[in-house]
């Protein structure tokens, strides 16, 4: 199987879907001539033309709303929001409109659209360019939210999202774009939205993660294997709908769990996972569920401060050790 980057997987999928369905079109800032701020749409304008690959002015509320309205008439827009930080000015169109139109009008209109956007931070992007807001959208019934961690999943989930008749928020990560993985050629596979995957089987502890944190979880699992600790990694893939069954089944087997997430600690995805586990698998737990998450500050610019604020492999290891020791109170 060919090994390609996450970026390439996205680029290939967008191209294939544009070729497959004339109602699919791309819309966003700098996606055409500039070929995308992160080059996800490289080459697509020259291949498909300006009707299918539409450069927009900086007007997120406007063009996200335009995409919703166009979707209501049967088009299938795939919108790029340069990073999730810029989605906030469009949130009314997503939360008050896209997510509600099908239900609120009794099923008479569909909103088949995708919003792709990278979440989280790398390097020293500082406070306004490093945030994780996927939980804001995962909170909202009517939306679907996916967050693939590998090139294979990115391709299968992007296909599924574009072909789905509901609004899908497709969470990417700047730090994942260069990661590589196996992706089959000439295989029109689609991954089901709403299902998690056990990315690695283990017996001692479950680590629940998504997007970039899954990659960290897999690395940690590999390292801990040498220490005799068997880590099972559950990759959520989909944040809404949430596959509670896969999480709970894993915890029933391992009896311990840690959640790692890039967003802030309070009110994050991890809180939802921990609550799910205590509601549905309390009697199976041998230790409290711990969360590894971002420190609750506006992310500082200085390299040392920035690094200290973001969750990483060492945090996850420490949490795993604590849980395996019986679950003493987490003191970071």
């Amino acid at each position: 199987m060919p090994i390609i980057t996450y970026r390439q997987a996205l680029n290939d999928t967008l191209g294939e879907e544009l070729a497959r369905d004339p109602n699919v079109f791309l819309m966003g800032e700098e996606i055409g001539k500039f070929e995308g701020s992160y080059k996800i749409t490289e080459g697509l304008l020259s291949e498909f033309g300006s009707k299918r690959v539409v450069d927009t002015p900086i007007a997120e509320e406007g063009f996200v709303g335009v995409a919703v309205g166009a979707a209501m008439l049967g088009l299938r827009p795939v919108v790029e929001i340069m990073t999730i930080n810029f989605i906030l000015v469009a949130i009314d169109q997503i939360v008050n409109h896209a997510s509600k139109i099908h239900y609120m009008f009794g099923g008479q209109a569909r909103v088949p659209m995708v919003i792709r956007t990278p979440s989280g931070g790398v390097g020293q992007l500082a406070a306004t360019h490093s945030q994780s807001f996927e939980n804001w959208f995962a909170y909202c019934p009517g939306l679907k939210v996916v967050a693939p961690s590998t090139p294979y999943d990115a391709k299968g989930l992007l296909r599924a999202s574009i072909r789905d008749d509901d609004p899908v928020i497709f969470i990417e990560s700047l730090a994942l774009y260069e990661t590589k993985g196996e992706v089959p050629e000439n295989d029109d596979y689609v991954l089901p939205i709403g299902t998690a995957e056990v990315k690695r089987e283990g017996t001692d502890i479950t680590v629940v993660a998504y997007s970039r944190m899954t990659v960290i979880a897999m690395q940690v699992a590999q390292q801990l294997e040498k220490e005799g600790i068997s880590v099972e990694v559950v990759d959520l893939r989909s944040l809404r709908p949430l596959d509670r069954t896969t999480i709970v089944e894993s915890v029933k087997k391992t009896n311990r769990a840690v959640v790692i997430e890039e967003d802030w600690y309070s009110y994050g995805i991890g809180a939802e996972i921990a609550a799910t586990i205590q509601e549905l698998a309390f009697d199976y737990l041998d230790a409290p569920v711990l969360r590894v998450a971002g420190v609750e500050v506006p992310l500082p610019y200085a390299a040392k401060l920035s690094q200290a604020s973001k969750p990483g492999a060492q945090d996850l290891k420490n949490a795993i050790y604590r849980v395996l020791q019986g679950g003493k109170r987490w003191q970071k």
């Binding site: 919703v68 099908h102 709403g194």
Partner: protein, 363 residues
């Protein structure tokens, strides 16, 4: 009347009404009938609200009847309509039966949005009535997107984006104007200017109170029209609609009328001088103005007016009866329409049944 058009192209006399001499009398009588239907529908809606048959927020079209009927007379079946939350009259004048509209207000399964939307969220796909929207200005980018789709698919028709005067102050309006002009979209922004956004007057809320000028930074053409003159509204809408469809040029129409009551049924309207409200209501009553004009032109007589009033009374009562007798949506259908494409791990009938059985719907 001081609210004449400012346009060089349309000439509504400053104190007069459109000339009816060359109009089709049957059409005129039909306009009158529709206006009266909307009037009685809203008056009875208000009554149903006080009887607690209707919940939530409820905004009436009283005083807006000529605006609505004139607009709908100008649109074609190809056109899509997006409106704000003050839209009962719009969906009826577009051709949807009053019964399912009243049923929606009553929260019934037979309602135009199956009881899921309510007063502010009426929808009828068959009539291309693409929704009333409860968030001020929320429909403006959506309507712009629908116009984008028409252009993309090279289909005939335009999008009519109805909106209130105060929604010309939100950011999404300007982003939409910019995109509509950049992309040459077939859309008409139809501003129902009743002078007030809740309790804030146009002059208090907009640094440019001539709302038809608000597209000038985007090179979007605008006009103002007397919204109490059904013929004037129809004619200018027709012209701008044609222009939008044929030349793909968006436009703004500032349609001035007078809001008869408070912002919504529960608003006591304390911020307006009630003496003035009474005076203006008489002066700017679109139905009164039209019936006087029709009578003067001998297009209708007293007997006909009485007959129409009786007919409308019966029709609105029938709508209320229909709504009253219609079934409530079932709790076991609570999760229906949640997603258009079913995916795993979403609640469905089983979960809804559980809620129905455990709680009997009372939480």
């Amino acid at each position: 009347m001081a609210k004449s058009t400012k346009s060089q192209e349309v000439d509504v006399a400053s104190n007069g009404y459109s000339d009816l001499t060359n109009e089709n009398p049957e059409e005129l009588r039909n306009y009158y009938y529709q206006m009266l239907l909307l009037r009685r529908f809203e008056e009875r809606t208000s009554e149903m609200y006080t009887k607690a048959k209707i919940g939530g927020y409820c905004h009436l079209n009283l005083g807006e009847e000529a605006t609505i009927v004139g607009l709908m007379a100008a649109l074609t079946p190809d056109d899509y309509i997006f409106t704000n939350y003050r839209e009962h009259g719009y969906i009826i004048a577009r051709g949807v039966e009053p019964g399912p509209v009243m049923a929606e207000l009553f929260g019934k399964e037979t309602g135009v949005s199956r009881g899921r939307g309510g007063s502010m969220h009426l929808f009828d796909a068959n009539h291309k009535f693409m929704g009333g929207y409860g968030i001020v200005g929320g429909q403006v980018p959506l309507a712009t997107g629908a116009a984008y789709a028409l252009r993309y698919q090279e289909r005939p028709g335009i999008v009519l984006c109805q909106m209130g005067d105060a929604s010309t102050n939100i950011g999404g309006f300007y982003e939409s104007l910019n995109l509509a002009a950049l992309w040459n979209l077939p859309i008409l922004y139809f501003i129902v200017n009743n002078g007030y956004g809740m309790g804030t007057s146009v002059a208090e809320g907009s640094s440019e109170p001539d709302l038809w000028k608000k597209g000038s930074s985007f090179r979007i053409y605008g006009e103002r029209v007397d919204g109490t003159d059904v013929i004037a509204v129809r004619d200018v809408t027709r012209r701008l609609r044609e222009r939008a469809e044929k030349e793909h040029k968006p436009a703004i129409l500032d349609v001035v009328s007078f809001r008869f009551r408070g912002h919504s049924v529960i608003d006591p309207d304390r911020y307006r001088d009630q003496e003035e409200v009474r005076r203006e209501r008489m002066r700017q009553d679109p139905i009164l103005r039209f019936s006087e004009k029709l009578t003067q032109n001998k297009i209708v007589d007293e007997a006909w007016l009485k007959e129409v009033a009786e007919r409308v009374e019966v029709e609105v009562q029938a709508a209320i009866d229909f709504a009253d007798k219609s079934p409530d949506p079932k709790i076991e259908d609570l999760f229906d329409y949640m997603y258009a494409t079913p995916v795993p791990n979403t609640p469905g009938r089983a979960e809804a049944l559980e809620i129905a059985q455990q709680l009997g719907g009372a939480r």
